[in-house]
Symmetry: C2
Subunit: 291 residues, 2 copies
């Protein structure tokens, strides 16, 4: 959350650099899942294995309206608690507005908000009361909202579009998001922005992932052993795996990628949080944290 | 969250009933999106429009291991902040265990947890410190975790499997989830369980959705007008749309479905929350709410 502009610039620059520098290690974007698994069994799995993030390097080309509608109608098919659809999706095509809201620009932005206002208004219109005023309301609606957002991302990818899902809305003065989009002050919280667009250049590789120890556990939780943690460190260091956010940590004098991650990228979180953050203040203001 | 067993029984019973009762209004599960939109442009969109929830009526048939692995490897392709993968997925095949954890049973359960323990252990192993100790850490990792979970749901559906995503883990004494699965006490929070399985019977219809006013907003937020709220009420009442959770609200003496929803289903939330909930207490205990 700290050093925001630096973060964005870094990601943009490293995306640029990588197009030239990392070409030798690149694997095809259409190669499917890692070798140890079998090939995707169907087109949907192939789409999922093609998921990738474009860090704001989108052209200014607009997304065709019919594709936006296809993405929206697919998005709302995501499961949601009691079918109450406690979210709002604000579709923003105005490029200046999307930049002010989420710090990025693309062909279109879908802002996914946890939102109980329609359901509260329905209750009031029929003479009922409904209080989504505890953190459980935030958690359950947050899951529903994120489910819908990820479904939109997958729908967009299936149409050959690219996405950036960003919490840029939570950086800087968050109040601006409410003001720019006229969001209700209570029980509405902007959770994640999905920027959809056409990349200015094709990425050379898919970002890799840790795919076993410390991520996937069998029947019960397994704390990684010191040896397993060494393996994790080596996986991040392995440039062919593309798990790291950059390849320049070595040149910057770090022994391991994770040294760079903790010393540079996450340095703002090296000490305990001492006072109430903006986010907790905003969540209280929205009525999502009970007394 | 209240009347939990009643809720489960209700959903199970209404699923059974609906198989006989609602057949006349059923539309094909393979009919694609609503008529007002164009047909899905590709197989992935078709899969998304086939998403459906099975409310615990799964057979006891196990999911083949290779399909579980395909689902997991697709799931981790979801975008995540700084590629830190701050989640854990606990794969549970033991049917008794999954029931105790999430109150449902199926062929397999994937428990998606917000989890900073691997990344914290990596930091410690290299001599660094990292404090994910504010609510922002919960929110950002919660989004990542939900993205991965929804991707698993879509992967499963593409393989012809069905899912229930449930927050049954948050009902009853939540502490049991930590105990049964040996979860770390700090900075790990079970967010959502994905139960995967084979339904005991095919549902007759897909659940409908509100798809415009109060859900999708254009360029800025639009508060529904009284007339629009009446339309929303009528949409829930329209049995051909299948947006309601049941068709029996009229027989129970309610004028509108939403009357049933607020008076019966959501009656526990008709008054303001007066004291700290279990969830807030657990989140504090996990270190996700700063002082």
């Amino acid at each position: 959350m700290r050093n925001q502009k630096n973060r964005r610039d870094f990601l943009k620059n490293s995306a640029m650099l990588s197009s030239g520098v990392i070409l030798g290690q690149a694997h095809s974007l259409h190669a499917g899942p890692p070798k140890k698994t079998t090939a995707p069994a169907n087109e949907t799995l192939t789409t999922l294995h093609k998921l990738r993030t474009i860090h704001g390097n989108f052209t200014d080309q607009a997304i065709p309206d019919d594709q936006i509608e296809q993405i929206l109608q697919a998005s709302i098919r995501a499961a949601n608690s009691s079918n109450m659809q406690t979210y709002s999706i604000v579709v923003v095509k105005d490029r200046e507005k999307m930049k002010r809201v989420c710090q990025y620009q693309g062909g279109c932005m879908l802002l996914y908000c946890v939102d109980y206002n329609r359901i509260k208004a329905s209750a009031a219109s029929l003479g009922h009361t409904y209080y989504p005023d505890s953190i459980g309301s935030l958690v359950v609606a947050g899951i529903n909202t994120a489910f819908a957002a990820q479904t939109a991302v997958i729908a967009a990818r299936s149409l050959g579009l690219d996405c950036l899902t960003t919490n840029g809305i939570h950086r800087g003065n968050m109040q601006r998001v409410w003001e720019i989009l006229d969001l209700p002050k209570e029980h509405c919280f902007p959770l994640i922005a999905v920027v959809i667009g056409y990349p200015t250049q094709e990425p050379d590789h898919l970002r890799g992932r840790l795919s076993d120890v410390g991520v996937i556990h069998r029947e019960s939780y397994h704390q990684p052993t010191p040896e397993e943690l060494e393996t994790v460190t080596r996986q991040y260091d392995n440039k062919e795996k593309h798990i790291a956010l950059n390849d320049s940590w070595g040149q910057q004098g770090h022994k391991h990628y994770l040294d760079w991650l903790f010393k540079v990228w996450l340095k703002g979180a090296a000490k305990p949080t001492e006072k109430e953050t903006q986010m907790l203040r905003m969540l209280k203001q929205c009525g999502f944290v009970e007394a």
